[in-house]
């Protein structure tokens, strides 16, 4: 079974530029999550999708971050414009069902550096 795929793996941009990350979840997984992990911290949920609907985006800075999950499969996360404090690893995860007890499978992450 293929795991969660993410691209790019690394990205360096200047502040005020835009960037987009892509995630392909495990086939058949209904729920998709985007996390932000700042160095020295644990992952923090940004947004959770169930199929192509948003379940929770309460911690997403909506003035600069946006995410979509078209057709309930792949997802993109965009930052526009980026700030220095957005430097972090962005992790995508997916789970099979909608129950909170379903295990989340994480991708390798995209490391973003904003200079």
């Amino acid at each position: 079974e293929a795991g969660v795929a993410q691209s790019p793996r690394y990205k360096i941009i200047e502040k005020r530029q835009s960037v987009a990350f892509w995630c392909n979840p495990i086939s058949g997984h209904a729920t998709l999550y985007w996390y932000q992990q700042i160095l020295g911290q644990g992952p923090k949920l940004l947004i959770q999708f169930q199929n192509n609907g948003v379940v929770d985006d309460s911690q997403l800075p909506k003035d600069r971050f946006s995410a979509e999950r078209l057709k309930g499969v792949d997802s993109t996360l965009k930052i526009q414009p980026a700030k220095l404090e957005d430097s972090a690893v962005y992790l995508c995860a997916s789970s099979l069902g909608t129950s909170g007890l379903n295990e989340q499978y994480f991708g390798p992450g995209t490391r973003l550096t904003v200079t």
Binding site: Q50, V55, G100
Partner: protein, 112 residues
């Protein structure tokens, strides 16, 4: 306000001995707890979980203990192996499909 705390940033243990990783939480509504393991340049991998109705869950070399009155859980790895060297994250959630809240992680080094 950090709801899940891992107060030890790092831990070194000799191969074959027991590793004990600790986690404290403040939210009494948490009812499901998980441990994730993370190698460099990889995403976290689920290790073991425990529901609040239990006080112990065991899976091979890994055992998680939950003390609800103290709002404390621990992960025991015995015997520790060099391949266990990684960052371990404690996570918790409330009832339902709610977000996981992660601690900052503990870096475990198992020395051969």
């Amino acid at each position: 306000d950090q709801q899940v705390k891992q107060n030890s940033p790092s831990l070194s243990v000799q191969e074959g001995r027991i590793s004990i990783l600790n986690c404290d939480y403040t939210n009494s509504m948490f009812d499901y707890f998980l441990w994730y393991k993370k190698y460099p340049a990889e995403g976290p991998t689920f290790l073991i979980s425990i529901s609040s109705i239990k006080d112990k869950n065991e899976d091979g070399r890994f055992t998680v203990f939950l003390n609800k009155s103290a709002k404390h859980l621990s992960l025991h790895i015995v015997p520790s192996q060099p391949g266990d060297s990684a960052v371990y994250f404690c996570a918790a959630r409330t009832t339902g499909n709610t977000p996981l809240v992660f601690g900052k992680g503990t870096r475990l080094s198992v020395i051969a």
